[in-house]
Each structure stands twice: as C-alpha cells, then as structure tokens.
Symmetry: C2
Subunit: 427 residues, 2 copies
C-alpha cells in the first residue's frame, strides 16, 4: 500500500494532505499494482495483450519440405545442361498438389508437376517454374506426358526446407511480449490456438457531485453534465481495459457507498470529483469510512488533488473533478496502473522532443502539462504550439490538442524555442 | 465497379490477368467503396468512429457563471483596499455549494462562501480563495459569521463565465471528424449522449486451400496451419472493423460456395489463397461463377496476385496465400477499404522518412515492401534495418518488424544510406 504511516482513518483529513511531485505520486500508485492472474485466451482475443509464458513451436514451419513455386520438381543434375536454346525434355512421372499427403518419388530423368506449397517429391532437389518450361510458353495442357526445361536450376532453387522459418520446439514468442497481429499468425502456424495472457483489467468509473448530471438528463439550474465518465472510459478502453460504468453519485454517504460497493469486483475504481480541499466534499469522508485512502496534493497543473488507496481490497484512484485535470491525471497515473495490471513491463508514457512555439510562464513550482498541437518543420524538428485556453475545465482545448507539452516544475519561465518533452495523445 | 471492360465470366482467366502498379490497384479497390450508412451510437460506442453530421451545443459550457475555486464570492470594489497587513472584514451572508439551484445574492459589504463549480451569486464579481482569507490561515469553522480578506481581487478573478468554453448552438464537432476521448467528453458536456456515426464495417474472413488446417487441428502430412485468418482478423479489428470468421474452405466448389454465401451480409469478404496462376486453384473458378471478380498481377513484392470484385453485391478482396504476401496486401488495400467504409476521408497509409541501413536489390520492377526495424539515431534520423529473411512465407520476420520499408519499382538497387519512406506498423 502506498501509505506507510498511520492508518488514515485515525487522522483528520488535513493531516494527510501531502505535497508530492508527479514522479513520487506515480511511484506510489504503481507500487500498489501487480499483473493480474493469467488466463487462456484464443488468439484473436489475445491481440494486444501480454503473453504470460514463453511459447514453444509444436511443429516446424514449414512443417515439411515443399515447393515455393508452381512448376516442375526435378533433380538438378538431370537438367544441368538445359538452356533456352537447348532445353532438356523429361517425362512427367506424377502430379502433386498442395495439401496432398502420400509420398511421390521423382525418378532419375523425370519431373513431377508441383504446385506451390505441395510436398517436394523424395529425391527431387529443385523446382523449375512454369515460366522456365514449355508449359509456361503457351503449350498448355496439364495432362502432358513430357516437359521441356529451359533453365538449369541450382540445387535448392524454389525449395522451402522444413523448419526454414521456425524449428520445432524453438521459442516463437516470449513471456512479457505484447501480441500483435503477426505474432498471432506465428503462434497459429506452430499449432498454438490459445495462449496464456494476463487477464484484461476491469476499471469501474464513478463520477461524483450534486452538481453533476448524466449527458442525457435535463440540465436544471446550477447543474453541469458529466463529461468525465465517458472520457475516462474511452481512455481506459484504449489502454486495453474493460469498463464498468458506476454512474454519477450524489454527495450523500448512502449513494456513494452503494455505488462504490458495486465497483468492488473491478480491478481498479476510478472516481472523479470530491477530492479537493472544499469541506462540502462528502466523498473524502466516505472513502475514509469505506477504505484506506490518502489524499495527496501533487505538484502538477492541471490537477493537484489526487486520492489513492483501497476500498476493501480494490485499489481506488480519485481524480479531480475538473475535466482536463481528471483526464491529465488519468493519463499520468491511471494508464500506468492499467498497463501494469495487464502485465506490461514498460508502463512509462512515451514522449518526444519538441520545441516550444511560444513563451510559457509556470509559477508555483508545479509540473505543467500544456495542451499543444505538434507541427513538423521541414528540418525535422517538431514544434509544440499551445491550443489556447489552458483552464482545468476547458475540455475543448484538450480535444483540440494532440500532445501535452511538459514544463518541468523547476522552470518558472520557458522562452519560445526551448527544447522540451511532449506526450503525444494518440487514441 | 473497378472493372470497366468485358464482364469477367465471359472470358478465360488468363485473359484477365493484368499487370498493375500498387497505386492503380489501390485506386481501383477504393473506387468500389463508399462510407457505410449512418447510425446513432452512444458516446462510448462512438469512440474512434467518424462523425456523420456536425453537432451543435444544446447548452453553453459552463452552463452558468460559476466559481473556479473554493473561497468567498465578493464584489471586488468592497475589498479593493485589502492587503495581507490590513485585511478587510466582511459579513458572510450565505453559503453556496456546487449543484445548488436557487438564487443567492451578494449584498454590498458582504461575502458568500462558495465552492468550486457553484453558481456565482448575483452582483458578486470575483472569488477570493480560502488561502487568501483568514479561513485558509487556520482559523477554520465554516459556520463563521465574518471573513477577513487578505488580497484585493480584480473583477473576474476565479470566475468562470457562462459559455466561456462553449457557446450554446456553436458547432462542437464536425462531420468527418474521428471521435477521440476528449471529443466524447465535449459532446457529453453539451448534452449530446448519442451521435450519428458511420456504421462499423463487418469484414468476413475466409482462408482457402486443401493444404490448410485450423491452428487447433492435427497436422497430417502435407498440411500447414492457417495463420492468415487470425492475422487478417486482428488487423481488421485494429482498423475499426468487426470480423466474421468463415473458417478454412476446402478446394471444392460446394465448400467454397457455401462459405462465401455465409459472408454475403458482410461489408467486405477477404479471402486468402487460390489466386495465383496455378491451375489447381478452384477458388478462381468459384469466384467467377459466384460473382464478378478480376485477378490482377500487381507490381509488388511480397504479393503479386490480387483478386478483386464482388460476390453478389458484396465486395471481395482475394489475397495471396503466403502469409506475408497476404498481410502486406491487406495493409495496402484492405485497410484503405475498411477506413473508407467507416467514413474516413484520409485513407492513405502514414509513412515516415528513413535511411536504409543496408543495400537492397530490387529486380523485376516491383515495389518492394521490406520488413525492417526502425532505430532512431542521436541526430534524429531514423534508420531502417532489415530484420532478415524476406521470403513471402516467412511470418517470423514480419513479427520482428516494426515497419515496412518501401523500395520504389523504379529503383533496381538501393545503396545503404538512401533516404526512402517506410510504413510504421502500429497495432
């Protein structure tokens, strides 16, 4: 648990407010998460998930020596004299199609008509493509008795050896690996139709506040619509989680308690609202009564209050209510928690180097995440340009942004043209 | 339809073989697709999809003038003399919480205790944060009768005006826009709980070939396992489609015909195998009998044969059977078709500039898609290094690659250090 000192319930709230920097807050959040249990998933359902064990090939790929082309299987030495001007004629002793079992031989002085993927006849050691025989030159008819070969192949030409791509019992995919489409194909090709992967995290999402109503509800005076739930749910899904929507809780203990209880089977409960200093916030009291939760003040902007702990045994992340503060905090802490639950080794946010288009003030020693759009200059540098209004409640500028510029807490003023990092927002 | 000349069924197969470059093939494929019909989707279900109509705000955001902070709403002129050394004391005339309806007034010479998001009292024009009052300096008790103000606010300080973020009836999201998490939040905030989006494409996937068995089936002599279906399905899903798995068809007319019929309700049927020149390929005969399908020879590598047309009214894309040829062809043609169906305006594959790590031969005037890994150098250039074996059947090197280096058909030899484009593979 992230809170090593006195249990929270014994102390007044103000006493557990603490000022943390973003890295310390992230480290505390991450310390509470381990990869979820492993389950067998069919290949398609395993896409994007993390493999929990090495997978070994049950068969070679290709499983048998076969033809890489449509043509004639031959013994290379029989046609070593063949040229376009002086072709060598061979008897066609057999035909073999892809998928054909049985054993076909290629007698000395004969050829076997063969299709791509078909097993190479015993004693054949090369395949001559139709285009290099008289069949490919317009003298058609697959029922032919003889074939004229126009080119001398090297031993092995157009032959795929068994195990050429993958040897049986070799490791084809490793524990900890994220499975993409081609990995799934590789697993399928070695006879692996289901794989052990970490269970998909379930994230329960609860909005709080007497002023908050669902998007479809009528908007009476003093109310605002809940935008946090859908933003957080869409992000959680993009990071590979399933979501459970707990709705909007009124600022009453029974309603909050009941909705939190409904989320206890989830792997993570995420709330928004009710964690700032304001004393009307019943949320903090309920979190204290129902679990073990700390409220932190994080040196970041937007976002500063952050609740973290457990309700029963379920980890809880309490985000601020302002839409952009909630979204940015979820990107910083929620994503890492979800990826860790899903079994990812690497949970850090990818960043890129950018150059600031304008001057930024950053008073208050907080790490500032500025909504920007990225523009690529001809010289390859990427310019980060503010999308405008940076208030914690201004969701339109988050929608307009494609990255968050990161201004370190150590910089109180950043001139235009400064090299900084930015977090690309890709969904 | 992409085939402007004689209907296919009247002509022998060899006659319709045609050599196309990649761009011409793509243009013909795309010409056959239009965005799918529009449906109403709930916000969360609309994530990643394309909005079909402009959406107009049903309410302003914020819907009313409110406090951006927890503190005291005042008339700025009443406290214009306040300093830390000489605070101004006001009566606390009321308290207002977020979500509170009703109208509260701020009488001259008084303050209203206010929480973040609560409606600003009439005639108040600024909010002083707790931290700038004696309440924030340790003399607690929210039931207090008076408050001492330590700082003179400007008119508008900590006040959010109604419509500051979004004005009612303004356009908050535009037709053709792809909806990300923040867009969904914006839509929620203006009372839009469901939006018109293009229907999600359904892609039916069929593997063909007597030599092909499903991954879980026993591998008898001469057989290989189907890896194409899962690769194509995972890619189609990553591009936003739903998939319908049609299994593996034997090389018989009844089995092929039956399985194709099962896919007719899909928006696109994708087959793999059976479209090369080999005459054992019953697939081509069935496609001819069941629909109107052309077989093209495309100047690309891996992949060269490509079938395209319709089965009944359902578009069909017939990919080669070799796993990498199938995957690369699907990335080039299938992705564009799926995105177009889903309503995307921009369906081109994103590419980046890279520098080749090694020399590449590219005989045969085909556009070569080389499996590479990208490495970023300190100077910012990105080096594309071959992952090794480039055979059309070698799926392991596609799994190891994170991009496809594009060698134009016009270049028969590319020295190391050449600037070219590459297609990043991101899932």
């Amino acid at each position: 648990m992230p809170e090593p000192t006195t249990p929270l319930a014994e102390r007044p709230w103000e006493a557990v407010e603490r000022m943390l920097d973003v890295d310390a807050a992230l480290a505390r959040v991450l310390a509470a998460f381990r990869p979820l249990p492993v389950e067998e998933a069919t290949l398609l359902d395993a896409c994007g998930r993390i493999l929990a064990e090495d997978v070994v090939a049950r068969n070679s790929v290709p499983p048998f020596r076969n033809s890489a082309m449509d043509g004639y299987a031959v013994r290379a030495e029989d046609v070593s004299a063949a040229t376009w001007d002086a072709p060598v004629e061979l008897d066609v002793s057999a035909r073999v199609a892809a998928g054909q079992g049985g054993v076909v031989a290629c007698q000395p002085g004969s050829a076997v008509r063969i299709m791509t993927g078909a097993p190479l006849p015993a004693s054949a050691d090369a395949v001559v493509r139709f285009e290099e025989t008289d069949e490919g030159r317009g003298s058609g008819a697959p029922e032919r008795q003889t074939v004229r070969i126009f080119r001398s192949p090297a031993v092995g030409d157009n032959v795929r050896e068994a195990g050429e791509d993958i040897a049986v019992e070799s490791v084809v995919a490793r524990r900890g690996q994220r499975l993409g489409p081609a990995d799934l194909g590789l697993l399928a090709s070695v006879g692996c139709a289901a794989v052990p992967v970490h269970r998909r995290p379930v994230v329960a999402i609860l909005s709080t506040g007497d002023e908050v109503v669902a998007p479809h509800e009528p908007l009476s005076p003093g109310k605002i619509r809940d935008s946090n739930a859908v933003v957080l749910a869409a992000m959680a899904r993009a990071w590979g989680a399933e979501v459970q929507m707990l709705g909007v809780a009124r600022d009453t203990a029974p309603d909050l308690t009941g909705r939190l209880a409904a989320g206890r089977a989830a792997d993570l409960i995420v709330t928004s609202g009710g964690v700032s200093l304001g004393d009307y916030d019943v949320v903090k009291d309920v979190l204290r009564a129902e679990g073990e939760v700390s409220i932190w003040q994080v040196r970041m902007k937007p976002g500063k209050p952050l609740a973290f702990g457990r309700i029963g045994t379920t980890p809880l992340l309490g985000l601020p209510g302002n839409p952009v503060a909630a979204a940015v905090s979820f990107i910083l802490y929620g994503r890492a928690a979800i990826l860790r639950l899903a079994g990812h080794d690497e949970v850090g946010l990818p960043t890129i180097e950018v150059v600031t288009a304008e001057c930024h003030d950053n008073r208050g020693q907080r790490r500032h995440f500025v909504r920007v759009r990225l523009e690529r200059r001809d010289d390859g540098t990427i310019v980060a340009r503010s999308v405008g209004e940076q208030g914690a409640g201004v969701l339109s500028s988050l929608a307009a942004a494609d990255a968050l510029l990161v201004i370190p807490e150590s910089r109180d003023r950043v001139p235009a043209g400064t090299r900084l990092r930015a977090i690309p927002l890709q969904w």
